[in-house]
Assembly symmetry: C2
Homo-oligomer: 397 residues x 2
């Protein structure tokens, strides 16, 4: 196989706001992985697509055909994002070796529940890998979560493997924090072995903040740019206390969160508790909830086992100055930085991650961290669909 590959990573997260696409040159694999980020684009979904995704992800009943069509539609939109990425980067699609795509999660339940007389956990990602491979001609690896669940894991988080490859340090204990719709952390003790890596979701990232902003601005704004709304408000202490009492926060990791815990019902509960509260106070409280739940997770579940010098933030939340400030206050004694400071663009980190995970599968390496997902064993993740380039890729012509 070639020593280096040009790989596109795609991520569309629980915030349902669009797709991130990163073009990465990856040299080697496993612990010898080296990356060079060539370009990154973030392409928002049109309003009607976002509304349809939100409807489905909120578990509104729909005919199977809606999910079938959305699966193909997302792959079409991903294809367009890839075209834009390549054009802006000045490369042709046929130079790309591989695509890694997380897909859009429309349901994720990592704890078994009763269904047709059996106990079942399950997860469902859409964004058809076969259509991506067909549209682009590039071999595509997609839908990484189910293979981890089949290994007894919770199917998430998957980025910890990437964190381990990119951010482990000989001397510094580090915690990686990604603030998307949901927030998750990866703990990397100084000179960590894979077996020492722990990771889990800490709770809401931007999900609750965004939902409040959308609601109170009648969808005119979709997020709290730079935290300026929250900065003008005050924390509603009794509400914050009540929210922090959610059993998710005290549950032992590994654990995963989603719209199921922190979606519409959670926001409704906030509004009912504080019926006359000011908009900016609610947003401030939601922002504090994110900061405090992250800090509590670090204190409860990381610090007892290892020393931590740096908290490295990525995802949309890294651009929220008020949140960053509250985080630094909440995690006293740990330096809060962004992944930009370490050379990995914050917004692109998860998309880069799925490029790296695809490269691992291409090299037949496992991509899950059992200490992060709870899997019984490391498994080669994802589903490989061959594009026209498969012979070149597999070195048989």
């Amino acid at each position: 196989m070639k020593p280096s590959h040009l790989v596109i990573g795609l991520m569309s997260g629980t915030s349902l706001d669009g797709v991130d696409a990163a073009l990465v040159e990856i040299t080697g694999s496993g612990e010898s992985t080296r990356i060079q980020v060539k370009h990154f684009v973030s392409v928002p979904f049109a309003n009607d697509v976002q509304a349809e995704l939100l409807r489905v992800a909120s578990q509104t009943p729909v005919p199977a055909q809606v999910i079938s069509h959305l699966n193909f539609l997302l792959a079409t939109l991903y294809t367009e994002a890839i075209a834009q990425l390549c054009q802006e980067a000045g490369i042709e699609l046929n130079q790309v070796d591989l695509i890694g795509s997380h897909g859009q999660t429309i349901f994720h339940q990592s704890e078994p529940a009763a269904f047709c007389g059996r106990m079942l956990a399950s997860t469902l990602q859409i964004g058809e890998g076969s259509l991506l491979a067909g549209n682009t001609g590039v071999t595509t690896i997609s839908d990484f979560r189910p293979r981890d669940m089949a290994a007894g894991g919770k199917g998430a988080p998957l980025i910890p493997y990437v964190d381990y490859l990119l951010f482990r340090d000989d001397r510094l204990g580090r915690v990686l924090l990604n603030v998307g719709g949901i927030a998750n952390i990866t703990s990397l003790p100084a000179s960590a072995e894979m077996e020492q890596v722990k990771a889990f979701d800490t709770g809401p990232g931007n999900m609750v903040i965004d939902a409040l902003v959308r609601r109170f601005t009648n969808e005119e704004k979709t997020y709290d740019a730079n935290g300026s709304i929250a900065a003008g408000g005050q924390v509603i202490a009794p509400l914050l206390e009540k929210l922090l009492a959610h059993p998710f926060f005290s549950a032992d990791p590994p654990k995963t969160a989603g719209r199921e815990q922190f979606g519409e019902a959670f926001v409704r509960q906030m509004l009912e508790h504080s019926k006359t509260a000011r908009f900016e106070d609610l947003v401030c409280t939601a922002t504090e909830l994110t900061a405090r739940s992250v800090a509590a997770a670090v204190t409860r579940f990381v610090l007892p086992a290892t020393r931590v010098q740096q908290l490295i933030v990525s995802g949309g939340g890294a651009r929220n100055a008020f949140l960053m400030q509250r985080l630094q206050v909440a995690v006293t004694g740990i330096k809060v930085v962004t992944s930009d400071d370490l050379g990995v663009p914050t917004a692109a980190k998860e998309a880069i991650g799925f490029a790296i995970l695809a490269n691992e599968t291409l090299h037949l390496h496992a991509g899950n961290v059992p200490g992060a997902t709870g899997a019984r064993y490391p498994a080669v993740l994802g589903k490989v669909v061959y594009g026209d380039n498969y012979k070149r890729l597999r070195g048989i012509e």
Copy 2:
């Protein structure tokens, strides 16, 4: 790679009655493929599973979580069928090299329709390949249709490639007919090249018959065993004429049919047309509809281009003696036989087919026939998920 592989093929069809599993030793690949069928089991779904599948496939609105759970549930049931297959065959799972699984189709629309402002065709199969690979430890290739659709095809039928490998003859022109819920034919002219293979759905197979039997026996019977109900009835000629006027039958191939055309709505239309008709006359008419629509398809779309000596029947319909008799009457001049007569068990043919298609993908061969699906090019089908045996399979240890 090893010269021969032990492969399990899985098929659960539009009749929603269970899963067929075939254990096949496959030597070589492509035109040199030789098979030995080791064992076959057909495992019915429990009533509650079947009801849930029917609900979803009938496009009753459901939350995404139902589809997510069904996707994992089916893989669990497939795993149990595989365990039974291996036990009866006296082999261990770790002797199996590969699994090929079609999955359960819960939506299939091969003609583009408007969705979120775009024209989209799409297809959705469930029966999670990652869970099969995890549960069994065997590398699994599943979900073959979408890659053909990504190549511009209708995603079905896919068995024609297998028909070509197993049944082409130097001297005889052959038509393969599979009668499942839907009936489809593959035309193989004498000494055919792949480019000469044509295949398409002819319309209902057992779907309409089964629906009538279920309805009139209050679900006590689910099919017309050996055609004995139909044999006691008479064709309602005006109704038959009306049904044969359905535009699907005269549409040019390639074409695919499903529950969308010949499901509940179609049966309701029959009952409304003949409100006082006797049960056995309706079943007889539905059986004649299958026979006559197959014969019409052969006459209209096959015979103008090639001579045909044999019609080789497989699928559940091959066990319906009355249907076989009506078929022989309808296709005068062509000898009607079953695939059993040529060494391939009728009930197992489609499951065997997906074992062979998986073997083709393992060898990086395309598995679709453009003349059957309408695809612009032959594509390597399916999604590869690695089981614990991946190193042995890929020959890297």
